[in-house]
Amino acid sequence: MEMNRPARKEALQGARDVTPLAIGVAVYGMAFGLLAAQAGMSSLEVGFMSAFVFAGSSQIVAVERIMAGAGALAAIVAGLALNLRLVLVTASIRDVYANRPFWQLLAGAHLTTDENWALMLARRARRGTGGYAYLVGAGLVLMAVWTASTVLGVVFASALPEPRALGMDFAFVAAFIAIVRALWRGKADLGPWLTSAAVVVAAVASGLVDSSWGIILGGLAGASFAGVSRHV
Protein backbone atom coordinates (compact mmCIF):
# COMPACT_ATOMS: atom_id res chain seq x y z
CA MET A 1 0.00 0.00 0.00
CA GLU A 2 1.50 3.30 -1.06
CA MET A 3 1.28 5.82 1.73
CA ASN A 4 2.65 9.23 2.43
CA ARG A 5 4.48 9.86 5.69
CA PRO A 6 1.59 11.23 7.82
CA ALA A 7 -0.68 8.38 6.68
CA ARG A 8 1.93 5.77 7.60
CA LYS A 9 2.38 7.39 11.01
CA GLU A 10 -1.38 7.34 11.55
CA ALA A 11 -1.59 3.68 10.51
CA LEU A 12 1.18 2.75 12.96
CA GLN A 13 -0.62 4.68 15.70
CA GLY A 14 -3.79 2.70 15.00
CA ALA A 15 -1.81 -0.54 15.11
CA ARG A 16 -0.32 0.43 18.49
CA ASP A 17 -3.61 1.62 20.00
CA VAL A 18 -5.46 -1.58 19.08
CA THR A 19 -3.04 -3.89 21.00
CA PRO A 20 -5.17 -4.38 24.16
CA LEU A 21 -8.22 -5.17 22.00
CA ALA A 22 -6.13 -7.56 19.92
CA ILE A 23 -5.29 -9.55 23.05
CA GLY A 24 -9.00 -10.07 23.68
CA VAL A 25 -9.48 -11.00 20.02
CA ALA A 26 -6.70 -13.61 20.33
CA VAL A 27 -8.45 -15.39 23.22
CA TYR A 28 -11.72 -15.29 21.31
CA GLY A 29 -9.92 -16.53 18.18
CA MET A 30 -8.40 -19.54 19.95
CA ALA A 31 -11.87 -20.40 21.24
CA PHE A 32 -13.30 -20.19 17.72
CA GLY A 33 -10.48 -22.39 16.37
CA LEU A 34 -11.32 -24.94 19.02
CA LEU A 35 -15.01 -24.92 18.02
CA ALA A 36 -14.15 -25.15 14.32
CA ALA A 37 -11.88 -28.14 15.02
CA GLN A 38 -14.76 -29.83 16.87
CA ALA A 39 -16.86 -29.18 13.75
CA GLY A 40 -14.22 -30.99 11.70
CA MET A 41 -12.75 -27.93 9.94
CA SER A 42 -9.08 -27.90 8.90
CA SER A 43 -6.65 -25.09 9.82
CA LEU A 44 -6.62 -24.00 6.16
CA GLU A 45 -10.43 -23.67 6.07
CA VAL A 46 -10.39 -21.81 9.39
CA GLY A 47 -7.58 -19.44 8.30
CA PHE A 48 -9.36 -18.71 5.01
CA MET A 49 -12.69 -18.07 6.75
CA SER A 50 -11.12 -15.79 9.38
CA ALA A 51 -9.24 -13.65 6.84
CA PHE A 52 -12.04 -13.35 4.29
CA VAL A 53 -15.22 -13.33 6.38
CA PHE A 54 -13.45 -11.48 9.23
CA ALA A 55 -16.47 -11.19 11.52
CA GLY A 56 -15.91 -13.18 14.70
CA SER A 57 -19.34 -13.63 16.21
CA SER A 58 -20.93 -14.54 12.86
CA GLN A 59 -18.21 -17.15 12.26
CA ILE A 60 -18.86 -18.69 15.67
CA VAL A 61 -22.63 -18.67 15.20
CA ALA A 62 -22.42 -20.19 11.71
CA VAL A 63 -20.04 -22.98 12.74
CA GLU A 64 -22.05 -23.65 15.90
CA ARG A 65 -25.22 -23.96 13.81
CA ILE A 66 -23.58 -26.36 11.36
CA MET A 67 -22.32 -28.46 14.29
CA ALA A 68 -25.84 -28.51 15.71
CA GLY A 69 -27.00 -30.02 12.41
CA ALA A 70 -29.17 -27.03 11.49
CA GLY A 71 -27.94 -26.97 7.87
CA ALA A 72 -25.96 -24.49 5.77
CA LEU A 73 -28.91 -22.16 5.09
CA ALA A 74 -29.74 -21.67 8.76
CA ALA A 75 -26.02 -21.12 9.49
CA ILE A 76 -25.73 -18.48 6.76
CA VAL A 77 -28.93 -16.65 7.76
CA ALA A 78 -27.94 -16.59 11.45
CA GLY A 79 -24.40 -15.40 10.62
CA LEU A 80 -25.51 -12.69 8.21
CA ALA A 81 -28.31 -11.51 10.51
CA LEU A 82 -25.64 -11.00 13.18
CA ASN A 83 -23.57 -8.95 10.69
CA LEU A 84 -26.41 -6.63 9.64
CA ARG A 85 -25.24 -4.15 12.27
CA LEU A 86 -22.09 -3.60 10.14
CA VAL A 87 -24.25 -1.61 7.70
CA LEU A 88 -24.68 0.97 10.46
CA VAL A 89 -21.05 0.72 11.56
CA THR A 90 -19.64 1.51 8.13
CA ALA A 91 -22.42 3.99 7.35
CA SER A 92 -21.61 5.96 10.49
CA ILE A 93 -18.06 6.63 9.24
CA ARG A 94 -18.88 6.99 5.55
CA ASP A 95 -16.62 10.08 5.30
CA VAL A 96 -13.63 7.77 5.89
CA TYR A 97 -14.26 5.93 2.60
CA ALA A 98 -15.33 8.97 0.58
CA ASN A 99 -13.40 9.86 -2.63
CA ARG A 100 -11.17 6.77 -2.53
CA PRO A 101 -10.37 4.36 -5.36
CA PHE A 102 -12.52 1.22 -5.31
CA TRP A 103 -9.76 -1.07 -3.99
CA GLN A 104 -9.23 1.24 -1.00
CA LEU A 105 -12.99 1.34 -0.37
CA LEU A 106 -13.09 -2.46 -0.56
CA ALA A 107 -10.07 -2.93 1.74
CA GLY A 108 -11.23 -0.29 4.21
CA ALA A 109 -14.78 -1.66 4.43
CA HIS A 110 -13.56 -5.25 4.80
CA LEU A 111 -11.14 -4.26 7.59
CA THR A 112 -13.83 -2.41 9.58
CA THR A 113 -14.87 -4.22 12.77
CA ASP A 114 -16.62 -3.16 15.96
CA GLU A 115 -13.22 -2.85 17.66
CA ASN A 116 -11.23 -0.58 15.32
CA TRP A 117 -14.36 1.43 14.48
CA ALA A 118 -14.97 2.19 18.17
CA LEU A 119 -11.25 2.85 18.68
CA MET A 120 -11.18 5.33 15.79
CA LEU A 121 -14.30 7.14 17.04
CA ALA A 122 -12.73 7.41 20.51
CA ARG A 123 -9.51 8.83 19.03
CA ARG A 124 -11.50 11.36 16.99
CA ALA A 125 -13.44 12.43 20.06
CA ARG A 126 -10.27 12.96 22.10
CA ARG A 127 -7.79 14.32 19.54
CA GLY A 128 -9.79 15.25 16.47
CA THR A 129 -7.60 12.99 14.29
CA GLY A 130 -7.96 9.45 13.02
CA GLY A 131 -9.25 8.47 9.60
CA TYR A 132 -8.78 5.86 6.90
CA ALA A 133 -5.11 5.07 7.67
CA TYR A 134 -5.77 4.76 11.41
CA LEU A 135 -8.74 2.44 10.80
CA VAL A 136 -6.79 0.29 8.31
CA GLY A 137 -3.66 0.10 10.51
CA ALA A 138 -5.70 -1.14 13.46
CA GLY A 139 -7.76 -3.38 11.18
CA LEU A 140 -4.69 -5.11 9.70
CA VAL A 141 -3.41 -5.95 13.20
CA LEU A 142 -6.84 -7.31 14.17
CA MET A 143 -7.02 -9.41 11.02
CA ALA A 144 -3.52 -10.85 11.50
CA VAL A 145 -4.17 -11.65 15.17
CA TRP A 146 -7.66 -13.05 14.50
CA THR A 147 -6.51 -15.27 11.63
CA ALA A 148 -3.39 -16.54 13.45
CA SER A 149 -5.21 -17.21 16.72
CA THR A 150 -8.07 -19.10 15.07
CA VAL A 151 -5.56 -21.32 13.24
CA LEU A 152 -3.64 -21.82 16.50
CA GLY A 153 -6.92 -22.80 18.13
CA VAL A 154 -7.37 -25.60 15.59
CA VAL A 155 -3.78 -26.81 16.10
CA PHE A 156 -4.05 -26.56 19.89
CA ALA A 157 -7.41 -28.35 19.84
CA SER A 158 -5.96 -31.46 18.26
CA ALA A 159 -3.65 -31.73 21.29
CA LEU A 160 -6.61 -31.63 23.67
CA PRO A 161 -8.18 -35.01 24.41
CA GLU A 162 -11.63 -33.87 25.57
CA PRO A 163 -12.59 -30.18 25.13
CA ARG A 164 -15.93 -30.66 26.91
CA ALA A 165 -14.31 -32.06 30.05
CA LEU A 166 -12.15 -28.93 30.21
CA GLY A 167 -15.25 -26.76 29.87
CA MET A 168 -13.98 -25.21 26.62
CA ASP A 169 -17.36 -25.69 24.91
CA PHE A 170 -18.60 -23.08 27.39
CA ALA A 171 -16.03 -20.48 26.20
CA PHE A 172 -18.52 -19.16 23.62
CA VAL A 173 -21.40 -18.90 26.04
CA ALA A 174 -19.11 -16.93 28.38
CA ALA A 175 -17.80 -14.78 25.50
CA PHE A 176 -21.33 -13.89 24.38
CA ILE A 177 -22.31 -13.12 27.96
CA ALA A 178 -19.40 -10.63 28.13
CA ILE A 179 -20.42 -9.12 24.76
CA VAL A 180 -24.10 -8.88 25.66
CA ARG A 181 -23.13 -7.17 28.93
CA ALA A 182 -21.01 -4.68 26.94
CA LEU A 183 -23.91 -4.01 24.54
CA TRP A 184 -26.32 -3.16 27.37
CA ARG A 185 -26.95 0.58 27.02
CA GLY A 186 -29.30 1.00 29.97
CA LYS A 187 -33.04 1.10 30.63
CA ALA A 188 -33.86 1.82 26.99
CA ASP A 189 -32.79 -1.75 26.15
CA LEU A 190 -35.10 -3.32 28.72
CA GLY A 191 -38.22 -3.54 26.52
CA PRO A 192 -36.46 -4.86 23.39
CA TRP A 193 -34.38 -7.35 25.40
CA LEU A 194 -37.34 -8.70 27.40
CA THR A 195 -39.25 -9.08 24.12
CA SER A 196 -36.34 -11.03 22.60
CA ALA A 197 -35.99 -13.25 25.66
CA ALA A 198 -39.71 -14.01 25.80
CA VAL A 199 -39.91 -14.85 22.09
CA VAL A 200 -36.82 -17.08 22.18
CA VAL A 201 -37.97 -19.02 25.21
CA ALA A 202 -41.51 -19.39 23.85
CA ALA A 203 -40.35 -20.41 20.37
CA VAL A 204 -37.55 -22.80 21.31
CA ALA A 205 -38.80 -24.30 24.59
CA SER A 206 -42.19 -25.04 23.01
CA GLY A 207 -40.41 -26.87 20.18
CA LEU A 208 -42.15 -24.73 17.52
CA VAL A 209 -38.88 -23.85 15.78
CA ASP A 210 -35.25 -24.98 15.85
CA SER A 211 -32.64 -22.95 17.78
CA SER A 212 -31.30 -21.04 14.74
CA TRP A 213 -34.67 -19.68 13.76
CA GLY A 214 -35.40 -19.02 17.44
CA ILE A 215 -32.32 -16.76 17.52
CA ILE A 216 -33.46 -14.88 14.42
CA LEU A 217 -37.07 -14.55 15.63
CA GLY A 218 -35.84 -13.32 19.01
CA GLY A 219 -33.50 -10.76 17.43
CA LEU A 220 -36.15 -9.46 15.04
CA ALA A 221 -38.83 -9.32 17.76
CA GLY A 222 -36.63 -7.21 20.05
CA ALA A 223 -35.52 -4.92 17.22
CA SER A 224 -39.13 -4.47 16.08
CA PHE A 225 -40.12 -3.54 19.61
CA ALA A 226 -37.39 -0.88 19.60
CA GLY A 227 -38.54 0.33 16.19
CA VAL A 228 -42.21 0.78 17.05
CA SER A 229 -41.70 2.01 20.61
CA ARG A 230 -41.52 5.79 20.91
CA HIS A 231 -39.75 5.78 24.24
CA VAL A 232 -36.52 3.94 23.45
Binding site: I23, A72, L80, V87, Y97, G167, M168, I215
Partner: protein, 97 residues
Amino acid sequence: MSETHAAIAALLVGTLTIRLAGATLGQRLPTEGGWARALNALPGCLILSLVIVMLLNGGPREWFAAALALATAAVTKSLPATMAVGVAAVALLRHFV
Protein backbone atom coordinates in the same frame (compact mmCIF):
# COMPACT_ATOMS: atom_id res chain seq x y z
CA MET B 1 -19.17 -28.52 -2.02
CA SER B 2 -19.65 -29.32 1.66
CA GLU B 3 -22.07 -27.53 3.95
CA THR B 4 -19.12 -25.76 5.61
CA HIS B 5 -17.69 -24.53 2.30
CA ALA B 6 -21.08 -23.25 1.18
CA ALA B 7 -21.48 -21.40 4.47
CA ILE B 8 -17.99 -19.85 4.25
CA ALA B 9 -18.56 -18.69 0.66
CA ALA B 10 -21.98 -17.19 1.41
CA LEU B 11 -20.76 -15.49 4.59
CA LEU B 12 -17.76 -14.06 2.72
CA VAL B 13 -19.87 -12.55 -0.06
CA GLY B 14 -22.72 -11.52 2.25
CA THR B 15 -20.55 -9.89 4.91
CA LEU B 16 -18.49 -7.91 2.39
CA THR B 17 -21.71 -6.79 0.69
CA ILE B 18 -23.10 -5.63 4.05
CA ARG B 19 -19.92 -3.66 4.86
CA LEU B 20 -19.78 -2.08 1.39
CA ALA B 21 -23.48 -1.25 1.49
CA GLY B 22 -23.00 0.79 4.64
CA ALA B 23 -19.88 2.52 3.33
CA THR B 24 -21.44 3.50 -0.02
CA LEU B 25 -25.18 3.77 0.57
CA GLY B 26 -24.95 4.86 4.20
CA GLN B 27 -26.18 8.35 3.56
CA ARG B 28 -29.56 7.02 2.39
CA LEU B 29 -30.30 5.16 5.63
CA PRO B 30 -32.45 7.13 8.04
CA THR B 31 -30.33 8.22 11.00
CA GLU B 32 -33.39 8.66 13.18
CA GLY B 33 -36.86 7.21 13.49
CA GLY B 34 -38.14 3.67 13.82
CA TRP B 35 -35.82 1.91 11.37
CA ALA B 36 -32.72 3.42 12.97
CA ARG B 37 -33.95 2.45 16.46
CA ALA B 38 -34.66 -1.10 15.33
CA LEU B 39 -31.26 -1.54 13.64
CA ASN B 40 -29.52 -0.05 16.68
CA ALA B 41 -31.22 -2.52 18.99
CA LEU B 42 -30.65 -5.52 16.71
CA PRO B 43 -27.09 -6.57 17.75
CA GLY B 44 -27.91 -6.71 21.48
CA CYS B 45 -31.20 -8.53 20.88
CA LEU B 46 -29.57 -11.11 18.59
CA ILE B 47 -26.67 -11.88 20.90
CA LEU B 48 -29.03 -12.08 23.90
CA SER B 49 -31.19 -14.53 21.94
CA LEU B 50 -28.12 -16.62 21.16
CA VAL B 51 -27.06 -16.76 24.82
CA ILE B 52 -30.57 -17.84 25.85
CA VAL B 53 -30.66 -20.60 23.22
CA MET B 54 -27.24 -21.86 24.36
CA LEU B 55 -28.39 -21.88 27.97
CA LEU B 56 -31.68 -23.63 27.09
CA ASN B 57 -29.49 -26.42 25.67
CA GLY B 58 -27.58 -26.68 28.97
CA GLY B 59 -28.60 -27.55 32.52
CA PRO B 60 -28.23 -26.20 36.07
CA ARG B 61 -24.40 -26.47 35.96
CA GLU B 62 -24.26 -24.29 32.85
CA TRP B 63 -26.80 -21.84 34.30
CA PHE B 64 -24.73 -21.42 37.46
CA ALA B 65 -21.52 -20.96 35.44
CA ALA B 66 -23.36 -18.42 33.26
CA ALA B 67 -24.38 -16.45 36.37
CA LEU B 68 -20.75 -16.40 37.52
CA ALA B 69 -19.64 -15.29 34.04
CA LEU B 70 -22.23 -12.49 34.02
CA ALA B 71 -21.04 -11.29 37.43
CA THR B 72 -17.44 -11.34 36.15
CA ALA B 73 -18.42 -9.40 33.03
CA ALA B 74 -20.25 -6.80 35.14
CA VAL B 75 -17.31 -6.29 37.50
CA THR B 76 -14.29 -6.60 35.18
CA LYS B 77 -15.85 -5.66 31.79
CA SER B 78 -13.20 -8.04 30.44
CA LEU B 79 -13.85 -10.62 27.74
CA PRO B 80 -10.83 -12.85 28.58
CA ALA B 81 -11.62 -12.77 32.32
CA THR B 82 -15.30 -13.61 31.69
CA MET B 83 -14.34 -16.48 29.41
CA ALA B 84 -11.76 -17.82 31.91
CA VAL B 85 -14.23 -17.74 34.82
CA GLY B 86 -17.03 -19.31 32.75
CA VAL B 87 -14.86 -22.13 31.44
CA ALA B 88 -13.26 -22.85 34.83
CA ALA B 89 -16.63 -22.79 36.59
CA VAL B 90 -18.32 -25.17 34.17
CA ALA B 91 -15.31 -27.54 34.19
CA LEU B 92 -15.25 -27.69 38.00
CA LEU B 93 -19.05 -28.06 38.27
CA ARG B 94 -19.11 -30.92 35.75
CA HIS B 95 -16.23 -32.64 37.50
CA PHE B 96 -17.32 -32.31 41.12
CA VAL B 97 -21.08 -31.67 41.19
